[in-house]
Symmetry: C2
């Protein structure tokens, strides 16, 4: 009945990471999220489908949306799929004032047989629950939400565009909906899922980006929430992005601390490849999950595929701290091989140069528009996403 919270004694350290909430599993009256209770109301006014070349990321949406209300007394309500519509909320609702909001980004792909597939949605569900826990919003069974998303995909199947690089971007979102200005744990929430047909991030092959190494604005901090997919992490990054853009760069390369640790790029994780001149061995490096780094699904997939497929005698795959100075030094000595951002939207995004304190660090793009590993990794993931290759059940068919 009441939301129960594990009683904790005082502990210094990463308490937030280990604290578990049990909000719905110990109660007889607070209902768990249950896909079997789904109610579907189909649109009577289907939208026209845009030509593929007119698709803009996140601008147009499918005919339907999924909604599930939650309240602290009764738990999760009946899931409902209904025609895409505005949300009507009291102006005192906590989502407008205190950023009780979090989201996920997933993609659905049409395979050769016409089936709709999602990629590692279980990882998104896991992360979404971690985000929810961190800002005292309710948790839920990820498998049940995946089943519901499958039903939305089947209903809006005609909106999933055909062809390599085309997909349906899925946006599960959880917001606090208590209508009260008190700053406290929301007792009402709404989980909703909308979906937007999208074209390839790069319409004609890769377009490598230039980054500005940013140390005057700081994206995340130990003890903060930079590892969670909270709305709170995004608005504060737009001004530094605008400033970098005014100075001719596409994105920020977020540095941390006096040491200049490399953390992320724009809204993506980031990978660098160094070569050891004495052994010729290459190292694929990304920042470790120390609480300041988003736990990217693409990041995780690249690490797993790289460890599995790159020859051990030629490659080392590392999650470790590294600095902008190490990158600069490697570039000067000819030991920087390539670099790329990694995220759901672009999968991989090759990097061509980094501006750092007025200097330019060139990053090699040996294939013209990307490095070799960047291109290889993109192809590995694409094949799994479009169901051309099976790998550890990472691709799920909606049915």
């Amino acid at each position: 009945m009441r939301r129960q919270i594990v009683r904790m004694e005082y502990m210094k350290g990463a308490v937030l990471m280990s604290l578990s909430f049990y909000r719905f599993n110990s109660s007889h009256t607070q209902s768990p999220l249950n896909a079997a209770n789904l109610v579907i109301e189909k649109t009577t006014n289907p939208k026209p489908k845009l030509p593929k070349d007119e698709l803009v990321f996140g601008k147009t949406f499918t005919d339907h949306m999924l909604e599930i209300e939650w309240d602290a007394k009764t738990g999760w309500g009946k899931p409902k799929i209904s025609p895409y519509h505005n949300l009507s909320l009291d102006p005192s609702t906590v989502v407008f004032h205190y950023a009780f909001e979090l989201f996920e980004g997933m993609k659905a792909y049409k395979d050769k047989s016409g089936s709709i597939r999602t990629f590692r949605g279980d990882k998104n569900m896991e992360r979404m629950n971690k985000s929810a826990e961190r800002i005292a919003l309710p948790q839920f069974s990820g498998e049940e939400l995946q089943k519901l998303i499958d039903q939305l995909l089947i209903l809006d199947k005609e909106f999933v565009p055909d062809g390599q690089g085309y997909s349906l971007y899925i946006r599960p979102t959880l917001i606090g909906t208590t209508a009260s200005l008190g700053v406290s744990t929301p007792d009402k929430a709404l989980l909703f899922v909308i979906a937007s047909p999208v074209g390839p991030y790069y319409s004609s092959g890769f377009k490598p980006v230039s980054l500005e190494a940013t140390d005057y604005a700081v994206r995340a901090w130990p003890g903060g929430v930079g590892d969670k997919k909270l709305g709170a992490n995004y608005a504060p990054c737009v001004l530094p992005q605008l400033q970098a853009s005014k100075r001719g760069f596409h994105q920020n390369l977020w540095l941390f601390g006096d040491e200049g640790y490399i953390t992320e790029v724009g809204t993506m994780n980031v990978f660098f490849v160094f070569q050891d001149p004495s052994t010729g061995k290459k190292e694929l490096v990304t920042a470790p999950l120390d609480g300041t780094i988003l736990e990217g699904v693409t990041r995780d997939s690249i690490l797993e595929l790289a460890r599995d497929r790159l020859p051990n005698d030629e490659w080392v795959v590392s999650e470790r701290k590294f600095t902008i100075h190490e990158v600069k030094d490697a570039a000067e000595k000819g030991n920087l091989v390539e670099a790329f951002g990694a995220g759901t939207a672009a999968v991989v995004s090759p990097i061509k140069n980094i501006g750092f304190r007025g200097e330019d660090i060139p990053v090699p793009v040996s294939l013209g528009n990307s490095g070799e590993l960047t291109s290889q990794v993109a192809e590995w993931i694409r094949k799994i996403q479009y169901g051309e290759e099976d790998y550890k059940n990472w691709s799920r068919v909606a049915k």
Copy 2:
């Protein structure tokens, strides 16, 4: 026409603090916010007024609300006061996903002559514009918004409760309303103001609070946005608050860094009073505005009044860094005089003890429920707020 941004060359350092946006003052077609264009639609269905003893902070609202839409092409639209109503927004609206949201907290008081007064609203307007600038939302003339708020107050005058400690809490809010999942500068926004009648924070005198000194979660950091009143700063603080509460404390005392610097308490600024045993002189201390501290209007008012009214030969008023260890040491030696939180909701909130790493630091409350200065400061501010005393035009009569 276009939003113009000052062209900047690369500078290391606190660029964000000095960067100025000129979004509306250099354009012929982008309209500035103009109170003269106000349109009023009165309610035909007035709400019943709650008995004063049933008022709960931020739960019930007045008959009307103020709204002004903004878009990047045309600027600020016609201000509108209309019956309190839900907001209807597309589910892809950026306020739900990326925390494009900021707010202010102000109070209106009924004076002896029945006039409605606000307290230092110009400071709120100034801070609201700084918050807006930091997350790329539009700025506006603070005086015009104050004029509009005055009109709302006059219309909803009957909702301002009489009596000491009673007031109308005013919540100006600015949200990004672009309906698109792209993470970029919003091209649409909505400024709205709602108001909630509230009772005294302490219904029968002061109730001193116990704090948990928190170092495992970090509220704000250098290069972050902790000095702005953004929604993004609030949701992440609720879980640590819940955890402190489970351990028997009312609020978090937010520490920063290995040194254990004291920054804020809960959602308030914090003041400590130390006594120098060799001279007998007392020091009123609060953390300096270094980018991690909210620029509280109550904080500023207390500093100004204290510098003006406390005798120089007995008091020093300091904005300086100080640590939990200094507080602990002073408490042990008998040199800690009192401590209090400061914010719009409670004005001042006396502190009775601090839990730090399992130990208890007792804080003296010489008057039983508060220290002497705490009580004095509360009375100074109350008199100005209720118009019993004029001080530097801090109180504004709505007309």
